[in-house]
Symmetry: C2
Subunit: 407 residues, 2 copies
């Protein structure tokens, strides 16, 4: 008898009929002889509705109050799923984050899980219950309700799987797993059967929206196998797991993309120590995610410093950088807001320079200019014009034979 943690997202429990569908699936798992803990998100648009309600009261809702308000969304879905399971004759009980022992810090709206006290859940499991836990929420040591921010319900599921020493964590969503590329861009994209945590992290942070990197990271730390699959079909889904070095296959697993990229170049930066800190310190303090950073040496004792930010951060970043650039004696500042990223992701890429060459050649043949290049051990990313992104993803998907390859 294995213990399995399942998570169902908001689009899987959007109305009563869908909740009954989820109940059927959970019941089938239980009847398969397993102990089941189910993590549920808020129904469909509930969270957005609650946010709208708060904004009818005030433009700047307090974060503590907002957390308590938003926590009601998941509390509603867990009770309904428990009722649906009971009406199928199953023993089921719902627990809020606080009742389930999800203990967090007090950083409202973006709390981090500090510990999972598994006692209540284990007791309910011993009594033969299916235990349904509200995702996305927890409690501080002072008994205040927190929410975990983006990727919260996925994080709850993986944290519970770790805290309960579950055999695996199953994330059910509205897609059939992790694809070799976004199927909306590449009709030939296929679901990947198995993917390493590290590859998944590169995909997740590069714009694959299936699962939040935070939850994948947690899975990697505790070595929890995570299955991502559809709650609407019986397709096998994608297993995210911790592979050993022996399994490094030196191949491209998937193509990621991100259309939300803007570039800032500080021109004629004096080539002396401390410049990078002077520019990026204030940006980090303002909470801006600076991504690729490239510095081009030039003939005179100055360089050009280029970096990317999210498009929505561009204006604010320019306002921040402008006085800093003047202060350090830079020659000027230019920006481009119409960029995108495309990445190839796969283990062991760094040891196989052929992949980078094939990527650049593919983009060249498609007539796509590369603005910047960054790499990690398992990823090569090119910054290109946004209007070429779709073409780039399709060309790379074909060039690396992802339409046909078995993963």
């Amino acid at each position: 008898m294995a213990l399995i943690v399942q998570k169902y997202g908001g689009s899987s429990v959007a109305d009563a009929a869908m909740i009954r569908n989820v109940a059927q699936r959970v019941a089938a798992t239980k009847e398969g002889g397993h102990q089941v803990v189910v993590v549920v998100s808020a129904m469909g648009d509930t969270t957005d509705d609650l946010i709208r309600l708060a904004h009818q009261i005030t433009d700047r809702p307090d974060e503590r109050e907002m957390d308590l308000l938003l926590s009601t969304g998941e509390t509603i879905s867990i009770t309904l799923l428990a009722m649906a399971l009971r009406s199928l004759g199953q023993k089921a009980i719902s627990l809020t984050g606080a009742q389930a022992g999800i203990q967090t810090d007090a950083a409202h709206s973006r709390a981090r899980i500090q510990a999972v006290d598994p006692r209540r859940i284990l007791r309910e499991l011993r009594h033969g219950h299916i235990v349904i836990v509200a995702g996305f929420q927890g409690t501080t040591p002072g008994m205040d309700i927190t929410t975990l921010g983006r990727g919260g319900s996925d994080t709850t599921a993986v944290a519970l799987a770790a805290g309960l020493k579950a055999e695996k964590c199953e994330i059910y969503t509205d897609v059939e797993g992790v694809y070799t590329a976004d199927p909306r861009l590449v009709p030939q994209a296929r679901p990947i059967k198995k993917i390493h945590y590290e590859e998944m992290l590169e995909l997740a942070s590069r714009g694959a929206k299936v699962m939040h990197p935070r939850a994948v990271e947690l899975g990697a730390v505790y070595n929890i196998p995570i299955l991502v699959a559809s709650s609407f079909s019986s397709a096998p889904g994608t297993l995210i797991y911790g592979g050993t070095l022996m399994e490094i296959r030196n191949k491209v697993t998937a193509i990621a993309h991100d259309p939300d990229v803007a570039k800032i170049t500080v021109l004629g930066v004096p080539d002396r120590p401390g410049i990078a800190a002077a520019i990026f310190g204030p940006l980090a303090k303002a909470g801006m995610n600076v991504d690729c950073i490239v510095q081009n040496a030039s003939i005179e004792k100055t360089t050009d410093l280029t970096f990317t930010v999210a498009q929505s951060d561009l204006e604010k970043a320019m306002t921040l950088v402008d006085p800093l650039a003047k202060e350090i004696g830079a020659r000027g500042l230019v920006s481009d807001s119409q960029l995108a990223k495309v990445s190839i992701v796969g283990t062991g890429m760094q040891n196989a320079p052929g992949y980078a060459a094939r990527m650049f050649q593919t983009l060249y043949e498609a007539g796509i200019n590369i603005e910047l290049i960054t790499t990690s051990e398992i990823r090569i990313t090119c910054i290109i014009a946004r209007d070429k992104m779709e073409l780039a993803v399709r060309s790379l998907h074909r060039a690396f034979e992802l339409e046909t390859a078995e993963t």
Copy 2:
């Protein structure tokens, strides 16, 4: 600096604009130099909406799950009121029933408050906060969420006032207080300025919907002065308080009525001990509220036993009583479902037989037949035909000069 507990009902916080209105009133109380604890119900129809949602899942929702589901209604309103107060520049914090220390038994859907642990609220008050508490909900020693059933939010408010040793408890609602009669029946009805707990209890249980008797009882036990007033006006409202005997004024305070009355008569009951128990035991076990009971002796050794139940309980009561009547050798069973109660309520009535006479005379002059009569120390109730109820209430209100009298 006094500590005041205020309670605002669902119709006072039905939308964002009304919540802002309540925030203004609460802020004004705070600025009057008081410490304020506010108890709030769920917004408008929220509770009904949640019940509907549960019934989309199953016809028979589990009570524990239902309690957790319904508790979200009040949790939403407390956070919105806290946000509204903060946007007025007030320090405010919302607390769920569990956070506020409302400890109950585990009788889901109808839990009784067992204790109030005031530590968290007192700490927040010391920090200068207005404390907003979710009404209608509490927590068991095992950390499960309960709801208090009917009159729950009023009960929360009075219990907090008792537990915090507040100076008074103010119940804000959509009427201007307790009236001498239902203003929909008697346009001349006036708000009563002061009323004893006991009088209010008679009114509340006899069909005056302003405040639930359970909360009034709690106020009487802990001697908490309760002000019932409108959240939409500045009318003074009605003070419910504990008077001394010296204040007994031997007068009628108000006319109550209840259109939901049915009567059952067991004919030809043998006149021997144990008969009443044989009939009323099973009815009580079935949770039926038997109200007036009258037994008429007759010439032969048999009596007729008449009692009233709520109209909605009539069919079930008849089904229960029919075999019992046969068993005890009664001659037959008749019922009348078209009845109503009218009552005059006032302290010291029992010592002033003139009031009963005036009531009967008034009904006689209005051509109204009296089916049954019951009395308590501070109330005389007549059961009459339902289609005469309105006429009876109007006639009595005039006969006891409630249009003009100062209470």
